[in-house]
């Protein structure tokens, strides 16, 4: 394409320079620091029981949280897009709350609610369920953080869904449930996967809200970002950098996947 519009050089220069200064140089520094440690130690650090336990919790809880967010997010998005009812705009606005609420505030508040003497924790405790200071607490915090991603990814796609296919299916005698299951859901799957991946990626890195509610128990409720901090607090920069680099590689792979998915989505649209 011929470049008609001006500003290519200027914006390219500024964007790349800023990106380089703020993002690339620091991340390269991280990888160089991590690479300064031999491959052998890399493996040793990443396969130590404590790191493995933290990784299992971080990825496991993030995955489950993103899964729950996907289910509830699908429901909420459907209700917000398809139905008119009083208070709809208000509920719609609420969805963004986890984006706007600082994570530390979310952390202390969720702890206050789910601790054994908290509003909900009290009732859970009666049934022998401990939410805060348990992997369950981590899961709750991560669900809170990831929820809006799913809703906000689904909403525009749902709005664009033509009703013609549904009508066609209905005239062919399909029940409402069948229509949803066989016709609507398949069309939503790409957006659902994108939303899921976004929520998942965000949950993996989450720190502020989790540290308050998790209890920070090594091998049990310790998440990877916390492990990085605790390595840092013990002067072990190398180990911290290695764990961070490992997390980054996973995160970057996830992002790459999203962009790939989105490109395929665009293809389908055309």
């Amino acid at each position: 394409m011929k470049r008609v519009l001006p500003g290519f050089g200027l914006t390219m220069g500024f964007t790349v320079a800023y990106l380089g200064l703020v993002v690339l140089i620091p991340l390269v520094a991280l990888f160089i620091k991590a690479a300064g440690i031999g491959w052998h130690e890399w493996l040793e650090i990443l396969t130590s029981p404590r790191v493995l336990a933290a990784a299992k919790l971080t990825f496991g809880a993030s995955f489950c949280a993103a899964l729950l967010s996907s289910v509830t997010g699908l429901l909420v998005a459907w209700v917000l897009v398809r139905y008119e009812f009083p208070g709809r705009r208000f509920l719609d606005g609420m969805v963004d709350l986890p984006f706007a609420l600082p994570t530390a505030v979310a952390g202390i508040t969720l702890t206050a609610i789910y601790a054994p003497n908290g509003w909900i924790g009290e009732h859970l405790a009666k049934h022998g369920i401990q939410a805060a200071y348990n992997p369950l607490g981590v899961f709750i915090a991560l669900t809170f953080i990831g929820f809006p991603f799913v809703v906000r990814t689904l909403q525009p796609v749902m709005e664009d869904l033509g009703k013609e296919v549904e009508e066609a299916a209905a005239t062919l005698g399909a029940g409402r449930w069948t229509v949803f299951w066989r016709v609507i859901l398949p069309m939503l799957v790409p957006a659902l996967i994108t939303g899921f991946t976004l929520a998942f990626a965000r949950a993996i890195g989450e720190y502020g809200s989790v540290v308050f509610i998790s209890g920070n128990l090594p091998m049990k409720t310790e998440i990877l970002p916390l492990l990085i901090v605790s390595q840092l607090e013990q002067f072990k920069y190398g180990a911290a950098a290695v764990i961070a680099a490992g997390m980054l590689i996973v995160s970057f792979a996830l992002l790459f996947l999203i962009n790939l998915l989105q490109r395929r989505l665009d293809w389908q649209h055309r």
Binding site: R50, T111, A115, N117, N216, L217, P218, S230, Q234, F235
Partner: protein
């Protein structure tokens, strides 16, 4: 180059934001209330002696974490940490103060001492009397993470010392005991304060291994909810203080920092320490507050563990006994 000047300008502006003298005291978790009062007392004295007003800035956190920040460049004029090992680290890794820092002030540079006691729920429903009770099934123990908290390291060593005596030095049995104790720990916070919150505010756990002063503070903040249990044996904790000489020199606060720490040994400050449940070195102050300080058999880090460097290496460094028992 422009940003360079901008950054420099902001840092100068920030440094001189408050007029008069400034001092940064980087301290560990449970000292907040004490230093709040002590700083006011010293600022008054400083004003009388030099006519200059003084602002003492405080930073609190887990002792190991605070030491890390100073090594990374947090410009502390003085450090007042939970154990000498953390100040040793600053001397060894960043060369910010001489290695013999502990000889610069009286009493191993520890103006007050403390020890580790148990805090239990009112009425002691689980009947916890001594370390042996902590490994029982169904007893939940709250203590912070020894990797990041100074108090937690004292806790760990006190438990170790108890088991060491009980099992006549049979190390595998001692490890088993300590491992059983940490099996009963449901929450491992990074600092003593986090643990206090978990125990007192969130209501987790049956017994909290606590600094003596923190135990009394809980009693004050949450009246009628807890009581203190004195174990048969505990450890003499000497939280040391030191001038971070290189930083102080750069900031021109050497004399001020020295006077600040020396004031800790004055009769007035010793009385304040006693008031905040630290065991004063000064005999008069100790006598005045002695009702708060029951006699406990205390082991000593230098005598029983061969000093902090050795204890740190054996128990808390990577691959030490703490890592070992965690992975059982």
């Amino acid at each position: 180059m422009k940003t360079f000047h901008l950054i420099k300008l902001t840092s100068i502006l920030l440094a001189s934001a408050a007029f008069g003298d400034q001092l940064l005291n980087v301290s560990y978790d449970p000292t907040r209330e004490f230093y709040q009062e002590f700083n006011a007392s010293f600022a008054k004295k400083w004003k009388q002696e030099t006519g200059k007003s003084l602002v003492v800035k405080q930073s609190h956190g887990g002792s190991g974490k605070q030491s890390r920040s100073v090594i990374d460049g947090l410009a502390a004029d003085v450090v007042t940490l939970a154990l000498s090992g953390d100040i040793d680290a600053i001397a060894n890794k960043a060369n910010l103060l001489p290695r013999d820092w502990q000889t610069k002030l009286p009493n191993n540079s520890a103006p007050y001492t403390s020890t580790i006691v148990f805090v239990v729920r009112k009425g002691n429903p689980k009947g916890i009397k001594d370390w042996g009770d902590l490994v029982r099934d169904g007893v939940q123990v709250i203590t912070p993470n020894p990797k990041t908290s100074g108090g937690a390291r004292w806790n760990y060593l006190a438990a170790w010392a108890y088991a060491d005596r009980k099992f006549g030095g049979d190390e595998s049995k001692v490890k088993e005991f300590v491992a059983a104790l940490y099996k009963n720990v449901p929450v491992l916070d990074t600092g003593a304060r986090g643990s206090t919150t978990t125990f007192a505010q969130r209501g987790i756990g049956d017994v909290f291994l606590s600094w003596e002063n923190e135990a009394h503070l809980i009693a004050k903040e949450f009246p009628g909810k807890t009581q203190i249990v004195i174990p048969s044996i505990s450890i003499l904790a000497e939280p040391p203080v030191a001038v971070v000489e290189k930083n102080a020199k750069k900031r021109g606060t050497e004399a001020l920092a020295k006077a600040y720490l020396e004031h800790l040994y004055s009769a007035e400050a010793q009385d304040l320490a006693g008031k905040h449940f630290y065991r004063p070195r000064d005999a008069k102050a100790y006598a005045k507050w002695s009702k708060n300080f029951p006699k406990i058999q205390l082991v000593n880090i230098d005598r029983d563990f061969g000093g902090w460097t050795k204890a740190q290496k054996k128990h808390f460094d990577d691959g030490g006994t703490f890592d070992e028992i965690q992975q059982r």
